[in-house]
Chain length 307, copies 2
């Protein structure tokens, strides 16, 4: 009996099919609610979806590939700009500029603020209005969480993204693994040419302050293991080596043989509600206290390599 | 005007005095509440405390030193066992066994479960009752947070540690940077010979399931940048190299010249309450939405090198 902590599968963790305890299913299914591993092992193929290749970004670093799902329902203008930049190979050869412990990693053009030196943005727009929140709509059903949220009136998951909301407004939440577009002091000073990812405890006070554009589906470890910058705010300073971006491309623009075939669990299904409940009230034998509560950024949105 | 995200100083981040914007103080002090940087810059020496060297653990890794403050008020038996093990050099030469993305890093004896092969525990006890919660007491004042908590009746900070509670009970909370003692399936199967640290979004469902023993004050980056294990649950598997523990010692048992002189902001002061409010309602010019809410694991408990 190994002395372990239990399994955590949170927002950005790949599920390796190998450790799913298939054997537990038959015995327990009739007698008690299933845990997450059992629910996923028993899931039907249509419980999963293939992310749209036009909305999937491959951030290729020397250490490996980071896969980001874009969120056009929440940040259409920023997503369009990022797609334009990626198609123009804007990011290729740029670097990770900042890695701040328990906060964010950020990449892009180190001269973004210098109109003389900065890399040309081509057909992308230099400034975009902030896309901090939007109207709720029937096309964006929210799987609401039952235990409330410290930062908002409600919280839940919509179309594969963690969201929070108030009244008829809804916004993406700064959970671990979420990707945003840096901005300066004004709301319209971002454009998607400088992106960041949350690599620590979820800084929810950034919600509605900066535009989130997507979520890391796979490869978070290539960002979280980067050496922290020694400058103020975690900026990388000489003589520390810069991590160069090999390329940022849309999956749609990547030759088929070089794509990574993945699936994301759908979040508009009864199975996903069961999954939330399985993580909310832990029935795995290791747990002495089942908790009976769950907070937004601890809700798993599972991703797997295609079988 | 650099395109930045604002400063995040969360539980385990060192404050480098250099970036404190001292200049802002004189102008703004009379007219608006101070931000965190200003509050810390203006803090008196007695707002800080020096952690007790008997309750301070140095985890020395090849990459550098991780400093952990032990929490004898919350886990006296586990802390005593860890002190016994450290004094006997139990951990020296053992390894980091597990690094799981967005969850925990864990270290200790890979043969801990094998009574024949495992490293002898010496005077330390092989099994300890879980120390999952305790009675509130006047000696443990709690700086309570005003915005509630998803996982508990109340949350706050006590003697430098994030805590949650219900009625007259209080417990340490699994925030980023908190250190715990692994256990097996029963409450009394831990002993402090296998320790873990939270390296992702705070897994609060572990609260009251496993004994927390302290908090990383400095050096989190030496744990968070470790390569993730490729085995189930993030266990390190061959051929990946193991990260060896150079030593784990109490600061008190470390020659004075080899100690790291640090201070932690006291959390039982009016200044600390001001700090919480400064982080709860952001007045720095970058923020468009001041939020007006704060969640336990986003409360900073600042640490600095001694001036």
């Amino acid at each position: 009996m190994p002395r372990l902590l239990p399994i955590a599968l949170s927002l950005s963790v790949l599920i390796a099919a190998t450790w799913l305890p298939m054997a537990a299913m038959a015995d327990d299914a009739a007698t008690k609610p299933l845990g997450m591993a059992e629910l996923l092992a028993a899931s039907k193929p249509d419980a999963w979806r293939t992310p749209d290749p036009e909305q999937t970004l491959y951030l290729d670093l020397p250490a490996g590939r980071v896969i980001i799902e874009l969120a056009p329902d929440f940040a259409p203008a920023h997503v369009a700009n990022i797609q334009t930049l990626a198609k123009a190979h804007y990011f290729d050869g740029l670097s990770v500029l900042r890695v701040q412990e328990n906060y964010v990693a950020q990449w892009g053009d180190p001269n973004a603020e210098d109109t003389a030196k900065r890399k040309a943005l081509g057909d992308a727009k230099p400034n975009l209005a902030g896309e901090f929140q939007r109207q709720r709509s029937a096309e964006l059903p929210v799987a609401k969480l039952p235990d409330g949220d410290v930062y908002a009136e409600f919280a839940g998951v919509s179309k594969g993204f963690p969201v929070a909301g108030k009244g008829d407004q809804i916004w993406l939440a700064h959970c671990y693994g979420m990707v945003g577009a840096g901005r300066g002091d004004t709301a319209d000073s971002g454009n998607g040419a400088e992106l960041y990812v949350v690599i620590g405890h979820s800084p929810r006070h950034l919600d509605r302050n900066v535009t989130l554009v997507g979520r890391v589906l796979l490869g978070m470890e290539h960002l979280t293991t980067l050496q922290r910058g020694t400058g103020a705010l975690g900026f990388i300073e000489p003589p520390a080596p810069m991590t160069r971006i090999t390329s940022i491309r849309l999956a749609a623009d990547t030759p088929k043989a070089e794509r990574t075939a993945i699936e994301v669990l759908r979040t508009d299904t009864p199975l996903f509600k069961q999954l939330i409940e399985a993580r909310r009230t832990r029935r795995e034998s290791w747990f002495l206290e089942p908790t009976g509560r769950i907070e937004l950024c601890n809700v798993p949105i599972p991703v797997r390599l295609k079988p």
